[in-house]
Amino acid sequence: MSKKKENLLKGFYDVSPLLLPVVPFGIIFGAIGIELGFGPYITYATSIIIFSGASQIVFFQLLSNGASSIIAITSSSVVSTRHLLYGAVVAQYLSKLSLMWKIFLSYLLTDQAFAVSQEFFKKNSNDEYKHYHLLGAGLTLWIVWQFTTVIGILLGSIVPEELGLSFTIPLTFLALLINYFRKIDHLIVIFLSGLSSILFYEAPLKSYIILSCVISLFIIFLINKFQKKI
């Protein structure tokens, strides 16, 4: 098997356990769009044009609550600012790629794809075709997200609410952090970010995610700096 194909399949393989929450979430999102009265075309268009579950939900919820377009656009954009940090991490590994590759892979840079591919990049930084891993993981998520949005639009809420499947979202992100549980500096960042997100949850424009990132990264930066001096 060629290295390209091998990495592509590895991306697919690595991201597949993370599909567990994506499938019900996609269906629920499609159903919510219809329920809120946006109609099938607009609901589906957001899955192609915005392609970010969290931003899409925020966008629809605000608009249907009577918020102005400006507020909806700003809030969904603030929610996606975390991608700037993801991009900064993967940029270290993708800098040699052509512009076309960067333009295309950026579209596929979602939470889950970032999570699995940055691990792969760290371990395979000398692999010439490592970006095929992100392509495999990203495309898998893209296809599943498109497919499940359509199912939700067509069939409505076929996921029983009693199952509480929305709980799989935090569980998946928790599972993505298991490699850091044994590292005290990472535990400090995790705790600080988690605490900040609760404290600032009601901050304007859904800014609690990026606020929590900035606060926790800044404090660990200070701690590292202080440690060096001793």
Binding site: P170, T172, V189
Partner: protein, 104 residues
């Protein structure tokens, strides 16, 4: 019609947040300490998604200590710590959450 314009604008901004850093950051110009801080990005972003979803309920108040989500959360942490296995962690958290919901 305006909603289509809003979606396109939201989509473009969303895309630019993904493309921006990839396009503009030159790794050779990143200092060692900047690279070290970037290594913390997953640990800085994911808890901000995890904690509100576990510890807050629909009315944005803190959940009670015996909430099924809290049980599932801590079981997942323990299993994740021991097994270091992503699928096992998710399944253990979900099953313990279901057990609390459906049996108690």
């Amino acid at each position: 019609m305006t909603i289509w314009i809003s979606i396109v604008i939201a989509g473009i901004i969303n895309y630019l947040t993904r493309l921006g850093s990839i396009l503009l950051i030159k790794p050779e110009r990143l200092s060692e300490s900047a690279k070290k801080i970037l290594g913390y990005v997953p640990s800085a972003v994911f808890p901000a998604i995890i904690f509100p979803a576990v510890f807050l309920n629909e009315t944005n108040t803190i959940v009670q200590i015996h909430d099924p989500k809290i049980i599932g959360f801590f079981v997942a942490i323990v299993i994740g710590y021991i097994s270091k296995n992503i699928i096992l962690t998710i399944i253990a958290g979900l099953i313990s959450y279901w057990i609390v919901i459906f049996l108690f």
